[in-house]
């Protein structure tokens, strides 16, 4: 009964395959290739098997210690960024005007930082936070709080978190705003009639309806912040010391600074796998409960 599947269709996706092959698979394979070899310069490579991976995942080794330290910093940065930006983004979305010129202006202002390139944002904040000529750094120092991100751990982290928040909270706010717009008026009216408090309206109506957009927002923000490179590189260069050396910065240091391509290759692969794993978890959470009960 079944018709044979039309095999000609496969040819149509060949170009797509070719593109994926060239810009994803082949570079990836190069990295895999490096990760199992050791190089001593002069383009001389020696087989090292899973050696780099064993060292990398062993916290007591030098490479492993360094890896877990920068992984920890990256994870902490992502955690702080999410903890600040998600509630802030929701709050901004909730307090946005509902219509008119005020709304248009608001949307423009919120979207503006999103359009600025990473390195420009980095330069802006680097200057802005400097304790000698930066408006922010100078002001904080002027009111008596010592603030110098080139030598204070707290100051360096504060600048980076502030910068990322300034840059990206708008994304969460816009996503949430779109989500809030799609809630029918009847829900708010019903809640008023039911005597629900503002808090109950938020937790019982708005938050559940925002669930899917928030998941997307959190996922995007996680990936972005976990892979952040340009901005901290411009602002702190990973310092003071290595307190803001995130995984991506460390990776570049190893690969291009020390030219340890084997170590860097192994690190890249583990890095990628971590991000893939987190994305997969998000995807599963996002998809499953939506399907449940959809067709009953």
């Amino acid at each position: 009964m079944d018709k044979p599947i039309n095999n000609a269709a496969w040819f149509l996706i060949l170009p797509a395959f070719a593109i994926v092959l060239f810009n994803a698979v082949i570079p990836m394979m190069t990295v895999v290739n490096y990760s199992v070899q050791d190089s001593f310069g002069n383009n001389q490579f020696f087989w090292n098997g899973l050696g780099w991976f064993q060292e990398l995942l062993d916290p007591s080794s030098e490479l492993g210690g360094r890896f877990f330290a920068s992984l920890g910093r990256s994870a902490l940065f992502s955690a702080i960024v999410l903890a600040v930006q998600v509630p802030l983004g929701i709050a901004v979305a909730l307090s946005m005007p509902r219509s008119g010129i005020a709304l248009a202006l608001c949307l423009v202002f919120i979207a503006m930082p999103l359009l600025i390139p990473w390195n420009v944002v980095g330069t802006m904040w680097q200057l802005y936070s400097r304790s000698d000529i930066g408006l922010l750094g100078w002001t904080v120092n002027a009111i008596g709080i010592p603030f110098n991100y080139t030598n204070s751990v707290l100051a360096a982290w504060t600048v980076l978190v502030l910068m990322d928040t300034w840059h990206w909270t708008g994304l969460i706010a816009l996503l949430c705003y779109a989500g809030l717009k799609s809630i029918p008026d009847a829900y708010y009216q019903a809640a008023r009639i039911d005597g629900a408090s503002r808090w109950a309206v938020f937790t019982r109506i708005e938050l559940p309806k925002l669930r899917s957009v928030l998941l997307i927002g959190v996922l995007l923000r996680f990936m972005d912040s976990f892979m952040i490179y340009t901005e901290p590189f411009v602002v702190t260069g990973g310092g003071p010391g290595s307190v803001t050396t995130f995984l991506s910065i460390d990776l570049v240091k190893i690969a291009l600074g020390q030219f340890d391509l084997g170590k860097a290759g192994a690190m890249s692969i583990v890095y990628t796998l971590i991000i893939l794993a987190v994305c997969w978890v998000f995807y599963t959470v996002m998809v499953t409960p939506e399907n449940k009960g959809a067709r009953e």
């Binding site: 009964m1 079944d2 018709k3 039309n6 067709r295």
Partner: protein
């Protein structure tokens, strides 16, 4: 064109959306798909259009297998429950859009757009945009686009569901005329039995993904072949009761006992299910042989010209609920004791497997 569905099934994630449906639709006919929500109406339409591919079975157009054919390759038009038009284009451009895609000559497009607009009484609105129109006009615009396309197959998925009652009445009356003028196969999905009756043509009753009965609308209504067919095609819902025939008498679970006359006379002893349409349940004895069922009134609803009397009979265990529709105003006090009557020649008798065992001979259609 004739469209033939050959033992079509569609299974999605283990659940049968469409279960072994065979159906032949001829050129120039109106075909109503009637059934409740999730009966498979939309799924079946999507299969006809080629938007989905059946899990098994074949779709034949004029005898040619088009099962795997994409919707773009087939000449199909669809109208949905939501009023779907291009919001920025004028009504004229909306109607012209499928013809522009086909790169027809300008004068041909103009001719066809004006003809379709005339058919749907949109001539004076051609320069407006859809959002400047009323809901009824927006849906007319969507239908006009389907008509202008001169598709072989026009699928309408509950097109009137979002319209006001009176607008619905008006368009319902016009649709058969519009359809007749084009000669395509029209397939019209609805949940409302009255709509099917007003559209005429043929009706396929659907239930849980299965085709229950297909034939000329009046025939499907007046001569259902099974309990399911009768129940799907009844508004108000069919009154159903289990009866037991023992010799010369029938017994209802509520304790009613009546001589087995009329259609019941020739049945073998055993258990049956009877179905009585609301308008065949009478408040006054129509003739000597009528079965009388005594019960008490739950609610009466009046529409001005007619009254719906909801009655329940029996104490508790064999509790039965009935709805009688009678002309005129009958305000019966809730709780009042009342006799309702069934003419034993005007009911449907179904065997225990749900198949029709006996039905009215003279149905008056």
């Amino acid at each position: 064109m004739s469209l033939h569905l050959e033992r079509i099934s569609l299974t999605v994630g283990g659940s049968h959306h469409i279960d072994d449906v065979s159906l032949t639709l001829e050129r120039g006919t109106i075909n109503v798909l009637l059934g409740p929500t999730l009966a498979g109406k939309t799924s079946l339409m999507r299969l006809m259009a080629g938007l989905d591919r059946p899990t098994s079975g074949r779709v034949l157009a004029d005898g040619v297998d088009v099962t795997g054919c994409k919707v773009e390759a087939r000449n199909v038009a669809m109208v949905y429950q939501q009023f779907i038009n291009y919001p920025t284009l004028s009504v004229y451009e909306n109607i012209a859009s499928p013809l522009r895609v086909q790169r027809r000559p300008k004068d041909e497009i103009d001719r066809k757009v004006r003809a379709a607009a005339a058919l749907l009484r949109l001539e004076s609105h051609l320069d407006r945009t859809p959002l400047q129109l009323s809901g009824g006009q927006q849906q007319r615009c969507a239908i006009a686009r389907a008509v202008a396309k001169e598709a072989d197959l026009v699928l309408l998925d509950e097109p009137l569901a979002n319209l006001d009652y009176k607008l619905r009445e008006e368009l319902r009356e016009e649709l058969p005329r519009i359809f007749a003028a084009t000669g395509a196969i029209f397939v019209y999905a609805t949940t409302e039995p009255t709509e099917a009756l007003l559209l005429g043509g043929s009706t396929a009753t659907l239930s849980e993904g299965r085709l229950v009965q297909f034939g000329p609308t009046a025939e499907v209504y007046h001569r259902p072949r099974s309990l399911r067919a009768a129940a799907t095609f009844s508004d108000p819902p069919l009154n159903v009761a289990t009866i037991e025939k023992r010799g010369e008498a029938i017994h209802l679970p509520d304790g009613t006992r009546a001589p087995s006359s009329g259609l019941l006379a020739d049945l073998a002893d055993g258990r049956y299910r009877i179905g009585v349409r609301a308008h065949d349940l009478l408040l006054a004895r129509p003739n000597e042989g009528a079965i009388e069922i005594r019960g008490s009134v739950d609610v009466t609803e009046m529409t001005g010209s007619e009254s719906f009397v909801h009655v329940h009979t029996g104490a508790h265990a064999g509790d039965l609920r009935w709805v009688a529709l009678t002309p005129g105003v009958h305000e019966v006090v809730p709780g009042a004791s009342i006799g309702i009557f069934v003419d034993p020649k005007r009911l449907f008798v179904f065997a225990e497997d749900g198949q029709l065992a006996a039905g009215p001979v003279d149905t008056g259609y």
